[in-house]
C-alpha cells in the first residue's frame, strides 16, 4: 500500500522551545493513524506542518504525494482539516459556512450548495442548517467543523483532537462518524490525548513525547510492550494500603502504582488469574479487608506511563501550538 502521509526528521523550534525534534511517521492509504501524547508533545505542530500551516525548520514531509512546502498550494486540494478550535463562523448559518468552504475549494455554486445540504444531513444538522452557528452546542460546532473538512471529499483527513472538550455523548457520536469515514477509505491522521479514542479509532498509534515518536504499533502491540496484566485492588484504610503494597511487592513485575485517595494499588503481574488468587491469599493471611479486586489488560495509560515516566493528563507547563 502506498503511503498517504510521510514525515522524515521534522524539526520545529519556537525560540528555545523545541516543539518537534525529529518527528517521523508513515501512514499507509486508507488507514487511521493516531498521534497520542500529552499537551505540548508536538501533536498539533505536526498536524500544522502536514496541513501546510507551518513550515518545518528541518526535515520534509509529503501528503497525498505532494511535498508540504514545495507543493503546498496543490496539496491543499487533497486534504481536509478539522481542528480543536472549531473553525466555523458564528454569524453564518451552518449551510452558509459549508457553502463558503465549497466555493473556496472551487466546487462552483450549485455543487457547493448540494454538498452543504448532503453533509448537513449526514451530520444530523439539517434542522439547524439555517440557524446562525452562534446558537449551536459544542458538539454541533465540532460536527459542522468536521463537515467543513469533508466538503471536497478529500482522500486525506487531519483531525486535531476532534473530541477534546466534548461530553461523552457528543464524543461517541463523533466517533461513529469518523468510523464511517474510514470505512469509505479515507486516510485519517488523528491526534488525541485520550487513550480510549486512539484505542477505538486508530489502526496504528504513535506515542509522542517531546516532539518525537517514542513508541509505534497497534494498540495491542503497545500494550504487549508493557507486558502482562494488571491487578487492581482497593482496601479500606491507608494503613492497609501500605501493608498491601509491602505484601504484594514480590508479585510485581514492574512499578506498582498507589492511589492514596482511592485506596487502590495497581500491580503489574504475569500469570493473570493465578497471580490474583495468590495476591488475595496473601492479603487474607494478614486479615486485610479487600473492598474490590480485579484483573485487567494494560490500558494505553499504562503504556504511556511506562514509556514516558509521566502521566498523560498532566498539565504541561508549556503548551506549544
Amino acid at each position: 500500500m502506498p503511503a498517504a502521509i510521510t514525515a522524515e526528521g521534522l524539526v520545529k523550534k519556537y525560540g528555545d522551545v523545541v516543539a518537534l525534534d525529529g518527528m517521523e511517521l508513515t501512514v499507509p492509504e486508507g488507514t487511521v493513524f493516531g498521534l497520542l501524547g500529552p499537551n505540548g508533545a508536538g501533536k498539533t505542530t505536526t498536524v500544522r506542518i502536514l496541513t501546510t500551516l507551518l513550515t518545518p525548520d528541518a526535515g520534509h514531509a509529503t501528503v497525498a504525494g505532494f511535498d508540504v512546502v514545495r507543493d503546498a498550494r496543490r496539496l491543499r486540494a487533497h486534504i481536509g482539516a478539522s481542528g480543536q478550535y472549531a473553525a466555523v463562523d458564528d454569524h453564518l448559518t451552518g449551510a452558509e459556512n459549508l457553502e463558503m468552504v465549497g466555493r473556496l475549494y472551487h466546487l462552483g455554486v450549485k455543487r457547493s450548495r448540494q454538498r452543504a445540504r448532503d453533509l448537513l444531513d449526514r451530520f444530523d444538522l439539517t434542522e439547524a442548517a439555517d440557524r446562525p452557528v452562534q446558537g449551536y452546542s459544542g458538539g454541533m460546532r465540532r460536527r459542522l467543523d468536521l463537515a467543513g473538512a469533508l466538503v471536497a471529499t478529500p482522500p486525506v483527513l487531519f483531525l486535531d483532537e476532534p473530541t477534546t472538550g466534548l461530553d461523552p455523548r457528543a464524543r461517541a457520536s463523533l466517533w461513529e462518524v469518523i468510523a464511517e469515514l474510514v470505512a469509505d477509505g479515507t486516510t485519517v491522521l488523528l491526534t488525541t490525548q485520550y487513550m480510549e479514542e486512539a484505542d477505538r479509532l486508530a489502526d496504528r498509534i504513535a506515542v509522542v513525547d517531546h516532539g518525537r515518536v517514542i513508541a509505534l504499533g497497534t494498540a495491542d502491540q503497545l500494550k504487549d510492550q508493557v507486558g502482562g496484566d494488571r491487578i487492581e485492588l482497593s482496601v479500606t484504610s491507608a494503613a492497609d494500603l501500605e501493608t498491601a503494597r509491602r505484601m504484594l511487592a514480590p508479585l510485581a513485575v514492574g512499578d506498582m502504582q498507589l492511589d492514596p485517595t482511592a485506596l487502590q494499588v495497581t500491580i503489574p503481574v504475569i500469570g493473570g488469574a493465578a497471580a490474583l488468587t495468590s495476591a488475595l491469599g496473601h492479603l487474607a493471611a494478614e486479615r486485610i479487608a479487600v473492598r474490590d479486586a480485579g484483573l485487567r489488560r494494560p490500558t494505553l495509560d499504562d503504556v504511556f506511563l511506562t514509556l514516558t515516566g509521566h502521566e498523560t493528563d498532566e498539565t504541561s507547563k508549556e503548551t506549544v501550538r
Binding site: 513550515t55 482539516a81 478550535y85 466555523v88 473556496l104
Partner: protein
C-alpha cells in the same frame, strides 16, 4: 480559471461572508447605520446652533467633514474584524483550502467598502434632511462620492495593517481611537483651519484628512466663497492631491498588510 480569476472569485466569496456577518451582528450594524445618523444630527445641531458662517449654512460646511470622520471610524471595522478572526480558528481553515491567500484581505476590504456605501448613503439622506445641499453638477457630485469611497477603501487597508500588527481586538480599538481622534479633530472638519494658531494650522492644513474634506467640499459645492480661501498647497489642489493620497496609501498599505497577514497567521 487563471490565478487572477481565482483570486477575484475567492475575494468575492470572502466578501459575501463578511457582508452576511455585518447584517447579523448588531454591533457592526450599529456602526454602519446608527453612528452616521448620530454624528450628522449631533454635530449639526450642537455645533450648528453655535457657529455662524458667512454665506453658507453650517450644516453644508460641516457635512463633508462628517462624511470623512465617519469613514475613518467605520473603516476601523476592517481592522477590528481581522483581529477577531485572528483569535478564532477561521484563518487556519482558510489556509488549508486551495484558495488564493490574498482573498482574505481583499474580501474583507471589499465588504467594508459595501458597508461604507451604506453608511455614506445614510449620511447623505440624513444630511439632506438637516439642510445639506449639493451645489455642484451631478458629475462633480458623483466624483465627490467616488472620492469618499476611494478614501474609505484606502483607509480600510491602513486599519488592516495596524490590526495585523497589533493582533488583539482590545489593543487595536484603543490605538485606533487614539490615532483617529486627533487625525479628525486636527483638521478642517469642524473649524476653519486658517483660524487655528500657527503650528496647529500647519498640522491641520497638511493633514490628509483635511485634503479629503476640502476635496469633498469643492466637489459638492460646499466651500464658502465668503471664507478666506485656504493657502496651503494641498488644500488649494485638494481634488488631485487627495487622489494622490489614495494611491500612496494603497501602494504602501496593501503590500504591508499582506506581509503582516502572512506573518500573523503562520505562527
Amino acid at each position: 480559471m487563471n490565478s487572477l480569476q481565482v483570486a477575484f472569485a475567492d475575494g468575492m466569496t470572502i466578501a459575501k461572508r463578511n457582508a452576511l456577518k455585518i447584517r447579523r451582528a448588531p454591533d457592526l450594524l450599529g456602526g454602519v447605520i446608527m453612528l452616521p445618523v448620530v454624528f450628522v444630527l449631533l454635530f449639526t445641531y450642537v455645533f450648528g446652533s453655535m457657529i455662524e458662517l458667512p454665506g453658507l449654512s453650517y450644516a453644508e460646511y460641516m457635512l463633508p467633514g462628517i462624511f470623512v470622520m465617519t469613514i475613518t471610524s467605520s473603516a476601523q471595522i476592517t481592522g477590528y474584524t481581522l483581529t477577531q478572526d485572528l483569535q478564532k480558528g477561521i484563518f487556519d481553515r482558510f489556509r488549508t483550502l486551495p484558495m488564493s491567500p490574498s482573498a482574505v484581505l481583499t474580501g474583507q476590504t471589499v465588504s467594508d467598502l459595501i458597508m461604507n456605501v451604506t453608511s455614506i448613503v445614510t449620511m447623505a439622506l440624513v444630511g439632506l434632511l438637516v439642510g445639506w445641499r449639493i451645489h455642484s453638477s451631478p458629475l462633480e457630485a458623483l466624483l465627490g462620492f467616488g472620492l469618499l469611497l476611494l478614501f474609505a477603501y484606502a483607509f480600510s487597508w491602513v486599519t488592516a495593517t495596524v490590526a495585523l500588527a497589533l493582533r488583539t481586538p482590545e489593543i487595536f480599538n484603543n490605538i485606533a481611537t487614539l490615532v483617529s481622534l486627533p487625525l479628525v479633530f486636527l483638521s478642517n472638519a469642524f473649524v476653519d483651519s486658517t483660524r487655528l494658531p500657527g503650528p496647529l494650522q500647519a498640522v491641520a492644513e497638511w493633514n490628509p484628512v483635511s485634503t479629503f474634506i476640502q476635496a469633498a467640499r469643492v466637489l459638492f459645492g460646499n466651500a464658502s466663497s465668503a471664507l478666506p480661501a485656504p493657502s496651503a498647497w494641498p488644500l488649494r489642489h485638494a481634488v488631485p492631491v487627495s487622489l494622490l493620497w489614495s494611491v500612496v496609501l494603497l501602494a504602501v498599505f496593501v503590500p504591508l498588510a499582506t506581509r503582516l497577514y502572512k506573518r500573523a497567521v503562520s505562527r
